[in-house]
Assembly symmetry: C2
Homo-oligomer: 367 residues x 2
């Protein structure tokens, strides 16, 4: 059971955002507010309707028994048996005299919006990610535990890297290790051999490992709804000078970004704080300065209930990094037709510095 | 590589729907049209822009190398490096003189809609599920193969059911079996013991198996982007009369629905066809008639690239069932505090009848 503090904090945001209530649709936010993680992210299965004093959950008969038992603080409104969500929403918002409703515009579908608009004419975007991005110590501990299992998985998987193994087989060993420890993967593992490592989000496939290949491994663990995420790149057999240079540059760019961040936290520009985009630029410029192409993705992303969440460390980010935020720093260099390397670790911002949560070795590994 | 027929068929739909082009955002539709399944369903990573003559793909640097290699028929428009999707869309639709754009309202987010609306004022819902719901023989074969692996997994898992095992452990054995055969689960396996089986979408947990428990198992396999889905319910130890009655009623209601469907296909009401809701009603009424509560979910759903897709067999469905459609029939009875049973099989509608694709035994099993 999640403490009621999260819900209370949300309820305190409702009136300042000039709405009567908010309709929470994003599954990660439902999990955050209720502790229940049973709803699919592929289809709409539930909504929360939150007013400053009350909380309702709309879901259907597949979930109603679970909700009654596990979420006693939420009033269940059951969809189905001829009762559509739209009509139930009309009934409930009518009773509660809700005329201004906050919605999550970055989650709600256009077709849902149109249905809801028929019920309530005043709809307004409601941003609810600030609270979630500022992790409590308890949340950081869960992520840390997930990272710990990830580190064990990495240690284990190094023993499985051998000539002729396929990307899929290696991914299986990795995910199976996590599973056997009693955990889950937080996303589909990326394993990329040789040239395939030049595709940052390569689809793990049938390629078989041969001497001289880069082996890029990007994977994560989920523990009690909280995720880890890490990437390591090694070389199978003897590495070329170019591979060593790529790896070294990626490693240094991550160090530069972390150092920059540390310094900035201790000496933030007055009134500005630590801008996420400045951290991105630090790593990106370093890589460019070494004669490599720019990172074809963001430098990093927040992590928690979702693998990717606020804050985003990208060139266009408008976000400020704050104490309690947990995010990745994951520079990479990718050379089409040759291969690439990425190193990804998670960090938490603390009052006077940063702390790395993943803890796997980063010296260059030839295996 | 997917045959160009799917794309051609979509392109032929564009002008009749009175738009100049369509923006495809739903990941399953992107997979359907391109054969590429590497994009996440959790975040927006790509769009297709399709005109009657051309096809473009918008994605970022994490995927551009893969797209260039695997989708040579699509022109890549790369997001990133300061170029936002919105601006690129403006440029491309400007060049292509697109002023009326079809969008997928049941997939697009409100925030995305608002961005796109700034670029193109005329946006219109574009329905693109009819083609996907009518499976070709090749598609049916892929689903059939997935079903076959599911049947093997069921046979295997029966050997693992023993006193004291947990739901999670059983789910692990099942998913691991699928994985070791070289396949993937198509969704998170549901294993529910005893009382938990009264929750249709129970979250597989730590409950341990004891004598007299219902064991409900709902799982599926993915093979070359196509999914299977099946449910079986058995009793561990000796079943009570009530359990037998529940099982028998569920089984009979499935049979009634299948028989009804068979008859209707051979003798459809002229000008009406076979209504999905009538099949739902047949099973539902039978269960009610036996004194049990109504099914707290739809009777069935289409399946293909997505586990749940059109057509939907529910009380409010407006859909007509047609040759080539593949869907589940999955009645269930759920008694809070006691337990429940569900039987789910996949069927394909053929010109003169229906054919069951899953093929696991349905006689009542005490194990």
């Amino acid at each position: 059971m999640v403490s009621g503090v999260r819900l209370k904090n949300l309820q305190l945001e409702i009136q300042p955002q000039k709405v009567d209530a908010v309709l929470i649709s994003r599954v990660a936010n439902i999990t955050y507010l209720t502790g229940y993680s049973g709803f699919s992210t592929e289809e709409r299965e539930a909504f929360l309707l939150i007013t400053p004093q009350q909380q309702l959950i709309f879901t259907d008969g597949r979930y109603s028994e679970a909700v009654k038992k596990l979420l006693p603080d939420f009033r269940l409104v059951e969809i189905g048996g001829g009762k559509k969500f739209k009509d139930l929403l009309k009934e409930e918002t009518g009773n509660l005299k809700i005329t201004k409703l906050g919605i999550e515009e970055d989650d709600l579908k256009v077709s849902e919006f149109k249905q809801i608009k028929k019920v309530i004419r005043f709809l307004k975007d409601f941003k609810f990610h600030q609270q979630r991005s500022l992790k409590t110590d308890a949340e950081v501990s869960l992520i840390e535990k997930a990272c710990e299992i990830g580190d064990l998985a990495f240690k284990f998987i190094l023993t499985k890297i051998k000539a002729g193994i396929s990307e899929k087989e290696l991914a299986y060993y990795l995910e199976n290790f996590i599973r056997v420890q009693g955990f889950e993967s937080s996303f589909k593992t990326i394993i990329a051999f040789g040239e395939n490592s030049a595709v940052p989000h390569h689809q793990t496939g049938e390629a078989r490992l041969k001497s001289g290949d880069f082996v890029l491994m990007d994977f994560g663990v989920r523990f009690k709804n909280y995720c880890s995420d890490m990437t390591r790149t090694v070389v199978f057999g003897r590495a070329s000078q170019k591979q060593k240079k790529i790896y070294q540059t990626v490693k240094e760019s991550q160090e530069k970004a972390a150092e920059f961040l540390k310094k900035k936290i201790q000496h933030p520009a007055p009134g500005v704080g630590v801008l996420a985009k400045d951290v991105d630029r630090t790593a990106r410029q370093y890589i460019l300065g070494q004669g490599f192409p720019s990172i074809p993705h963001s430098l990093g992303h927040g992590i928690g209930i979702e693998v990717h969440e606020h804050p985003y460390l990208s060139p266009n980010s408008q976000e400020t990094l704050k104490e309690g935020m947990v995010f990745s720093i994951e520079p990479g260099i990718y050379i089409p037709g040759f291969g690439g390397g990425r190193i990804e670790d998670l960090y938490v911002l603390e009052s006077n510095g940063i702390r790395q949560l993943t803890d796997s070795p980063k010296e260059f590994i030839e295996i």
